[in-house]
C-alpha cells in the first residue's frame, strides 16, 4: 500500500470509510452553500423589485459559457474516474482535460466579473451587485481550492497510478467535482431568477 497512514487493515474498508467521509464533507459544504443562497433569497424577497437597481445590467452572458465549461469538466472527470477504475491509459488525458476546463471556468468567471465592473457595477455599489460577487466568489473559492486535489490527481493519473484495486484519489476528486457542478447550477439558477424583475 502506497500510503500506510490508516487504522484500517483492509483497503476496501479504508475506501468505504473514505467515501463515507467524502459524503459527509459534501453534505457539510451543501449546508454552507444552501445557507449562503438562503441569505440571498431572504434579502431578495425582503426588497422586492427594488432590489434590482434601475441601471443594473442583466447577468453577463459569459456565465453561460462558464456553465458549459463546468458541465463538460464534470463529464471529463467522470470519464477519468471510469478510466482510473479500469486502470486504462486514458485516465491521464481525461484528468488533464478536466484541469484545463476548470481553469477555463475560473477565467470565464473572472471575465464575467470584469464585464460587470466595466459597466460600473462593483461589489460595493449595491446589494444586488454585492450578492452576485459574493456568491460567485464563494463558489469560485471552492473551485480554486479544488484545483489542488485536481492537480494532484492529474499527476497521479498521468503516471497511470489508478488501478482497479486502488482508485481512491480519482473517486474522491470526482465526487467533489460533481458537487461543485451541481452547486453552480443551483447558484446560477437562483441568481438568474433573482435578477428578473
Amino acid at each position: 500500500m502506497k500510503n500506510p497512514v490508516t487504522p484500517f487493515d483492509d483497503p476496501k474498508a479504508r475506501f468505504a470509510a473514505g467515501l463515507f467521509g467524502m459524503w459527509l464533507l459534501l453534505i457539510m459544504l451543501g449546508v454552507l452553500f444552501v445557507s449562503a443562497i438562503l441569505g440571498y433569497v431572504a434579502v431578495r424577497i425582503d426588497n422586492g423589485a427594488e432590489f434590482i437597481p434601475a441601471n443594473a445590467p442583466p447577468l453577463p452572458l459569459l456565465l453561460l459559457l462558464s456553465t458549459a465549461l463546468l458541465m463538460v469538466s464534470s463529464f471529463t472527470m467522470q470519464r477519468a474516474l471510469v478510466a482510473g477504475r479500469a486502470g486504462e491509459a486514458s485516465q491521464g488525458r481525461w484528468m488533464v482535460a478536466t484541469l484545463g476546463l476548470a481553469l477555463g471556468f475560473l477565467l470565464t468567471q473572472w471575465l464575467a466579473w470584469r464585464v460587470l465592473v466595466g459597466q460600473q457595477i462593483g461589489p460595493s455599489d449595491n446589494l444586488y451587485a454585492w450578492t452576485f460577487f459574493v456568491l460567485t466568489a464563494l463558489h469560485g473559492a471552492h473551485v480554486v481550492g479544488g484545483l489542488v486535489p485536481l492537480a494532484i490527481t492529474t499527476a497521479h493519473a498521468r503516471r497511470l497510478e489508478y488501478t482497479p484495486s486502488n482508485y481512491r484519489g480519482v473517486a474522491y476528486c470526482a465526487m467533489y467535482w460533481h458537487f461543485l457542478g451541481g452547486a453552480w447550477l443551483v447558484l446560477y439558477a437562483t441568481l438568474w431568477i433573482g435578477s428578473r424583475h
Binding site: 497512514v5 490508516t6 487504522p7 484500517f8 474498508a13 468505504a16 470509510a17 463515507f20 467521509g21 459527509l24 464533507l25 453534505i27 457539510m28 459544504l29 449546508v31 454552507l32 445557507s35 449562503a36 441569505g39 440571498y40 431572504a42 434579502v43 425582503d46 426588497n47 427594488e50 432590489f51 461589489p123 460595493s124 449595491n126 446589494l127 454585492w130 450578492t131 459574493v134 464563494l138
Partner: protein, 564 residues
C-alpha cells in the same frame, strides 16, 4: 471450579504512547490520536486560563459600579467579549470532543486510531491557527461586540480586532467540523466485532450525536462570519439595514448554529457523566437505550429551537409560539437522562471520589440550569428576563456548571489513563467543593439580579444590586482558587503521583483494559467486547492495586444476556 482468567487483554508493556518516540517533532507531526488529544488538552486548558482571567477581571470591575482607574469601560466591553469568545470557541466546544474524545474514542472502540489520522492532526493545527487569529485580534485593537457578534455592532464598531477574530472563528469552525466528520466515520467504520450500536459506550453515543451537529450546523456559522467579514470590509452586505439588508437575518444565521452549538458543548459532557455515574457507582447504567436515544433526540431538537434567542427581536408571534413550544420539548430528553442517571445511582455501590464529586455536581447544576431554561422559553417571562443576568446565570449553569464541570470530571476520570499517574484525592475533593460552592455563589445570585432587572453586559448598576454583585464576585474568586488548586495537584501528580494501574476505578469499557498510559497502537489485536456497563466480571486485584476485567466471563455474560 474454574480459575478466573484475570489477565488484561493486552499484556503488560514497557513502552507507551508517551515514550514511544521522543522530541518536539515527534509530537508536532504525530498522527497518534492520543498525542493529538493531549495537545488539544494543553491548548484548551491554556485557553481556559486566559478566559478565566478575563472572567475574574470582569467580576472584579463589577465590584465597583462605574469608572475604575485600572480598566476603562471600553476595556471592560472587550474583556467580557474576549471571555465569552475564548470560552465558547476555544475552550468548551473543543474541550470534550477534541481533547478527551480524541484520546478516548478510538480506545473505547478497540481501534488503532481515528478513521483519518492526518485529518485529525490538520484539525488540531486549524485550531492553533484560529487561536493565533484570536490573539492577533487583541493586538489589532480587540473586539467589543459581545461573543455573539451581532450586527450592526460588529459591522460598525470601531474596535480594530473584529475581522481577525471572525476569521479565527471561521477557522475554528472548520477544525470542529473535521473533528466531527472524523468521529462519525470512525464510529461507523471502526467498531470492533461484537460492539453493536447498543453495546457502544454512551460517551460514544453522545460524541456521535455531537458530531452530527458539528457537521451540519457549523458550516452555517462559517458562512455567517464570512459574510460578516466581507460586509465589514466593503461596508455593505446583507445584514446592513441601510442598504436593504436585514440585521435580524444575522441573528437567525448565528443562532441556527449557536443554539445547536450549546448541545455541541453539553452533549459530550452528558456522555462523560454517563460513564462517570456508571463506573463510580459500579452499577449497570439504567435505561441505556433511553440515554442513547435521548442524545439523538437532543441533537434533532437542537436544530429546531434557535428562534427562542430572538423572542424580542421582532419575530412573528406565530414563530415565537412555535419556537417556544419546541423549546419545551427539549426538556423531555434532558430529563430522561437525569432520571436515568439518578436511577443508576440508586442502590449503587458509590465510590465518593473526586470524579464522582464532579458527576454529582453536574447533576445538581445541570438540573438548575435546565429548569431555569423554562422561564426563558416562556415568551411572556422571557420578555422580562431577556438580556438580563438571569440569562447569564442560566447559560453559565449549562455551559460551565454542566459542560465544563463534566469536562473536568472526565479529565479526572481519564487522568490515570492519559498520564499513568494518580492525582491527590484529598485535594481533588477540596478543589471540587470549592468550585461547586464558588460557582453557586457566583451564579445563583445572578438569577436574583436578573429577575430584578439587572441587564447583562452593563458596567453600571443600581445601588440595590451591590450586595448581589459582591457575593457573585466573591464566588468567582473561590471558584478561581478551586481551579488553581486543581491545576497544581494535577501538575504535581505528573511528577510525584502514584503509578496508576490499568483500571483504577473498575470500568468495564475497553479503555480500562489496556495499560495506563496506553501503548502506542492501543491494542495488539482487535479486542472482543462485552457489555461495557456490566461490572459483574470486574474484580479488585490486590497485587496491582487496581481492578481487572475477566475478559472471558465479561464477554460470556454479554452473550448470555446477563449484562442487561
Amino acid at each position: 471450579m474454574t480459575t478466573l482468567d484475570t489477565r488484561p487483554i493486552t499484556p503488560p508493556v514497557t513502552d507507551n504512547y508517551l515514550t514511544f518516540r521522543r522530541g518536539f517533532l515527534s509530537w508536532a507531526f504525530t498522527l497518534d490520536h492520543k498525542r493529538i488529544g493531549v495537545m488539544y488538552l494543553v491548548a484548551v486548558l491554556s485557553s481556559f486560563f486566559v478566559g478565566g482571567v478575563m472572567a475574574l477581571l470582569v467580576r472584579t470591575k463589577l465590584l465597583f459600579p462605574g469608572e475604575v482607574s485600572w480598566m476603562s469601560n471600553e476595556e471592560y466591553n472587550k474583556a467580557f467579549t474576549l471571555h465569552g469568545a475564548v470560552m465558547v470557541f476555544l475552550v468548551i466546544i473543543p474541550s470534550v470532543p477534541a481533547a478527551l474524545g480524541n484520546f478516548v474514542l478510538p480506545i473505547m472502540l478497540g481501534a488503532k486510531d481515528v478513521a483519518f489520522p492526518r485529518l485529525n492532526l490538520f484539525s488540531f493545527y486549524l485550531w492553533v491557527l484560529g487561536a493565533i487569529c484570536a490573539v492577533y485580534s487583541l493586538l489589532a485593537g480587540g473586539f467589543d461586540t459581545g461573543w455573539t457578534f451581532y450586527t450592526p455592532y460588529s459591522s460598525q464598531s470601531e474596535a480594530g480586532g473584529i475581522i481577525p477574530v471572525l476569521i479565527g472563528v471561521f477557522i475554528l469552525g472548520f477544525s470542529s467540523i473535521f473533528t466531527g466528520l472524523n468521529f462519525i466515520v470512525t464510529i461507523h467504520k471502526l467498531r470492533p466485532p461484537g460492539m453493536t450500536w447498543f453495546r457502544m459506550p454512551l460517551f460514544l453515543w453522545a460524541v456521535y450525536a455531537t458530531a452530527i451537529i458539528q457537521v451540519l450546523a457549523t458550516p452555517v456559522l462559517g458562512i455567517t462570519v464570512a459574510l460578516l467579514v466581507v460586509e465589514r470590509a466593503f461596508q455593505i452586505g446583507i445584514f446592513d439595514a441601510s442598504m436593504g439588508g436585514d440585521p435580524v437575518l444575522f441573528q437567525h444565521f448565528f443562532w441556527f448554529y449557536s443554539h445547536p452549538a450549546v448541545y455541541i458543548m453539553v452533549l459530550p459532557g452528558m456522555g462523560i457523566i454517563s460513564e462517570i455515574i456508571a463506573v463510580h457507582s459500579h452499577r449497570h447504567i439504567f435505561g441505556f437505550r433511553f440515554i442513547a436515544f435521548s442524545s439523538i433526540a437532543i441533537a434533532i431538537f437542537s436544530f429546531l429551537v434557535w428562534g427562542h434567542h430572538m423572542f424580542t427581536s421582532g419575530q412573528s408571534p406565530l414563530m415565537n409560539v412555535l419556537f417556544s413550544a419546541i423549546t419545551f420539548s427539549v426538556a423531555i430528553p434532558s430529563a430522561v437522562k437525569v432520571f436515568n442517571w439518578l436511577a443508576t445511582l440508586y442502590k449503587g455501590s458509590i465510590s465518593l471520589n473526586t470524579t464522582m464529586f464532579y458527576g454529582l455536581s453536574f447533576l445538581f447544576l445541570f438540573t438548575i440550569g435546565g429548569l431555569t431554561g423554562i422561564p426563558l422559553a416562556v415568551i411572556s417571562t422571557d420578555i422580562h428576563l431577556h438580556d438580563t443576568y438571569f440569562v447569564v446565570a442560566h447559560f453559565h449553569y449549562v455551559m460551565m456548571g454542566s459542560a465544563l464541570i463534566a469536562m473536568i470530571g472526565g479529565l479526572h476520570h481519564w487522568w490515570p489513563k492519559m498520564t499513568g499517574v494518580m492525582f491527590s484525592e484529598f485535594w481533588g475533593k477540596i478543589a471540587c467543593a470549592m468550585v461547586f460552592v464558588g460557582f453557586n455563589l457566583c451564579f445563583f445570585t445572578q438569577f436574583m439580579l436578573g429577575s430584578q432587572g439587572m441587564p447583562r453586559r452593563y458596567y453600571l448598576y443600581q445601588p440595590e444590586f451591590k450586595m448581589y454583585h459582591h457575593i457573585s464576585t466573591g464566588g468567582s474568586y473561590i471558584m478561581g482558587l478551586g481551579f488553581l488548586i486543581t491545576a497544581i495537584y494535577l501538575i504535581h501528580s505528573l511528577f510525584a503521583g502514584k503509578k496508576a494501574p490499568a483500571n483504577p476505578w473498575g470500568g468495564a469499557s475497553l479503555e480500562w483494559q489496556c495499560s495506563s498510559p496506553p501503548p502506542h497502537d492501543n491494542f495488539a489485536t482487535t479486542p472482543r467486547v462485552g457489555d461495557c456497563y456490566d461490572f459483574s466480571a470486574v474484580h479488585w486485584d490486590e497485587s496491582t492495586q487496581g481492578y481487572v476485567v475477566d475478559a472471558e466471563a465479561h464477554i460470556a455474560a454479554a452473550h448470555s444476556g446477563k449484562g442487561h
